[in-house]
């Protein structure tokens, strides 16, 4: 049983990393959103599994939040935004896919190598989970960094945050997980609203952050 539990957790966490990679690869906006939804689903699954393994019912709430909020509400909202703003479908990524993937590989390697320095006494489940979570986080950051587009960056940030939830869930008996996930949902809601309220659009006619940056206190 223990072994099986471990394997499934491992599988799900690995799946999360995999989806992160796909998001990194994906440069179409809608597809990216769909992938993110998938990301959220996988997260929900793995959190739920953790809840089951640890016998911690409150984690089910987290899973539910992840499922409802991240897998459904947010993607839909972002779909709307993309339509309303009518931003072109292409995400202009900063560097080509190939180098990005290589960088991602490097990051995963780094994450694992760093994590494996931890003494095995810390229970292996948490340890593996953390390794994958760290990988997801780094990949999420990479996604943010390599996207020129606000929506793309938001998605990257959310995947990063998924990694956090994964880590939190993986940490046995960690309190406040639910609160944290709620807090983060609020945070993301803020971000989405920030775009959604068209503050940015009505000022700058685009969500492209470079347009924001043109309006600066000190112009060169």
């Amino acid at each position: 049983m223990e072994g099986l539990a471990f394997d499934i957790a491992h599988l799900l966490a690995g799946g999360l990393v995999l989806v992160s990679f796909m998001m990194l690869y994906q440069d179409r906006l809608y597809a990216l959103l769909n992938l993110f939804a998938l990301h959220a689903v996988v997260l929900a699954l793995s959190v739920a599994w953790q809840a089951h393994v640890q016998g911690a019912p409150h984690l089910y709430i987290t899973a539910a939040i992840a499922l409802v909020f991240k897998a459904i509400v947010i993607p839909v909202a972002l779909h709307r935004i993309v339509q309303r703003l009518g931003i072109h479908r292409e995400i202009e990524t900063v560097i080509g896919v190939g180098p990005t993937m290589l960088a991602g590989m490097g990051l995963v390697a780094l994450a694992i190598s760093v994590m494996l320095q931890a003494t095995p006494e810390a229970d292996p489940l948490a340890r593996e989970d953390l390794a994958f979570a760290l990988a997801v986080i780094l990949l999420g950051l990479l996604t943010m960094v390599t996207r020129r587009n606000a929506v793309g960056q938001v998605v990257g940030f959310m995947s990063l945050e998924n990694g956090l939830i994964l880590a939190a869930a993986g940490a046995k008996g960690m309190p406040l997980v639910v609160e944290i996930s709620v807090a983060f949902s609020v945070l993301i809601a803020f971000i989405v609203i920030g775009i959604f309220l068209f503050r940015i659009r009505e000022r700058f006619d685009t969500v492209d952050i470079q347009a924001l940056d043109r309006h600066r206190g000190e112009r060169r």
Binding site: A118, A122, A133, F157, L176, A183, I191, G194, G217
Partner: protein, 483 residues
Amino acid sequence: MSLAPGDAVAAILLIPLVTAALLALLPGYRLTARLNIVATLLTLLAALGLLAGERPQPGLYLLIDDLNIVFLVLNTFVGFTTSVFSASYIAHEIGIGRLPRSYLRFYHAMYQALMFGMNLALVANNIGLMWVAIELATLTTVLMVGIYRTHEALEAAWKYFILGSVGIALALFGTILVYVAAHPVIGEGLEAMVWTTLMQRVAAFDPALLNLAFVFLLLGYGTKVGLAPLHAWLPDAHAEGPTPISAVLSGLLLNVALYAVLRFKLLLAANPAAIAAGSLMVTMGLSSLVFAAFMLYRRRDIKRMFAYSSIEHMGIIAFAFGMGGPLANFAGLLHMVMHSLTKSAIFFAVGHIAQVKGTQKIAEIRGLTESHPLLGWGLVVGVVAIAGLPPLGIFMSEFLVVTSTFARAPLLAIPLVLGLLVAFGALLLRLHGLAFGTPHGSTAPVEASYLPMFAHLALVLLAGLYLPPPLVAWFQHVAAMLG
């Protein structure tokens, strides 16, 4: 009347919270402004009572010890003076219609919410709670930075928001890692997130996890502290937000974030196998110092310039705490307090100056000592103090930092002194432009509240000459505690 210790803590937390709710509902400018002042004053009194009276036992959530009482008193004090300044500042803003009346409730409510967040972060005995509190404080400031709704303001707020959120995320991961490290030793549940417990048992934690945790925490909270290269949000947020918020940001929020970093440094210091957290802080501190020093030269916006000077001083403080040892830690604490007082005083002056001159462009402000002697000389004293000239307080802390560093690690002292000198040159250059020469722009008298500014400067001057023994003993104890 003497408060029971528990009540004092409760007061420190509840007064802002209640007032925030109240202010969100109440209309009318005068009333709300007064209420704001009164609330901050009460909070200050509560903090003082806490300082005077005996302290409550640390619980699962709240903790009062020597370290955070320093920050708490400073926090509530500057919060109070700033609210006084804010009253006259906002009055002027509304007078010229730069700020619509409808935003007032929001502004004051947010101000109290910010106070609540920071106080909570300071008294939190629980790394999770602390994280939540700091996130709260960040979000409130984000909203206040954007309050003018101008291009620049929104852009600054957005930048602050994005970078801040990433910082929050990193910090959270660090927090989780700490829990994971503590979990095998302490066991499941809230206990494993309580400072007091952690400090007792940390020696047995897994060092690798702690190191990893510290990296994330340093970057996460370091973003709030504004250490280079994580500083990007800071200058714009200071420059575009209302000046009282700039004062609070520079004077308080940075300290709160630094406090969090310090806590975790303590944690690592208590674990023999962990890496030297100090070296990381020293590196980031030095880089921030030198970087900000050079950045000062090209500034054209007065508030942005002083924001960079805040980065510089945060660098010095981080450096001092990184160096460790009784002298450097003492200097770091002193420098932190002095910087908060001085920098907020400078922002008080700058706020009124920008209002009377109708611009923040350095090039368009000249000869203040002639056109507005009080503001002008106040600015001169403030800048002289922030540049580290005697007889003001920062000179003493810089004296201690430099001398102790040079005796211990001469090579580290060289970039330190270089940064100090370059920054000095830049600040003086701008000061000459601002305060001297033939006056430029409006010379109309300004209805300003000078009290906060000169109160701060007087304190700084006093501290530069004479530190009362109890304060010293207390600082020394904290310094020893910081190792």
